[in-house]
């Protein structure tokens, strides 16, 4: 499943709503949905602020669900990330720089790569074991 938004902050809430719905369909509880949605929003915000800066563009949001996990990709065609995302925990008194820390803490896997002129942030959240066991059997693959 995928969709695009323009790189303006006003379109991010719509993306958040769609991502939250996808998480719920994947079987996550409200906390898991919220965490995954916040992380996706952080990646989208980064694309808008850092990759495109003042230029127009689109941010692609793609997700794929398996029986045990949900993977979300946020991609943009802006400038390449200058360096790998910081692994250092941000100073709590600073105004900025928390996005990647949140993503790494609340997603089970997170990575950045430059792929075919796109910046791609891939985040995966595993369904808790109990939820996997209780999840209704549906077809695997994209939702």
């Amino acid at each position: 499943m995928k969709f695009w938004i323009r790189n303006v902050p006003e379109h991010v809430p719509e993306a958040a709503h769609r991502i939250a719905s996808a998480c719920a369909k994947a079987g996550f509880d409200p906390i898991g949905c919220h965490q995954a949605t916040v992380c996706a929003v952080e990646a989208i915000n980064n694309a808008i602020v850092h990759a495109y800066r003042e230029h127009n563009g689109y941010v692609a949001i793609r997700w794929q669900c398996t029986d045990s996990s949900l993977s979300i990709e946020v991609a943009d065609r802006g400038i390449r990330m200058e360096r790998d995302p910081d692994a250092v925990e941000p100073d709590p008194t600073t105004e900025r720089g928390r996005g990647w820390h949140i993503i790494r803490a609340w997603m089970d896997e997170a990575s950045y790569e430059r792929r075919a002129n796109e910046n791609v942030v891939t985040m995966t959240k595993h369904l808790p074991a109990g939820l996997v066991a209780n999840r209704p059997k549906t077809s695997s693959g994209p939702i």
């Binding site: 902050p9 949605t37 916040v38 929003v41 952080e42 915000n45 600073t94 928390r98 949140i102």
Partner: protein, 120 residues
Amino acid sequence: MAFTVDQFAEVDVVRLPRRVMMADAPSIRNEIRTMVESGRRNIILDLSDVAFIDSSGLSVLISAREATRAVGGDVLLLKPTSIVRSLIELTRLQEVFEIFGSEEHAVQRLASTNVAMAVY
């Protein structure tokens, strides 16, 4: 207005909206700065209605703190929901802000600080 405000003598309780994201942050930040510039320096940020906040929203909290502290005031946080509290703790903002579960106690806290500074 990005939010509503209730005034209690020298303390303002800012009722933040349900959503505090990147699109909302500039207006909230600017309105708080306007309050501070008009002399309102003791502010309680009521988070009880906030259902979704991202790091842009957290930056607004920090910005408000910096603005009020620059003029001898302060910002307290009030009644974050459990999900918002989890983000606050993940980003260690509980080391930076006092967080209250009672509006009365938060108002008393800032009011007493104000009195102490006036006496001084």
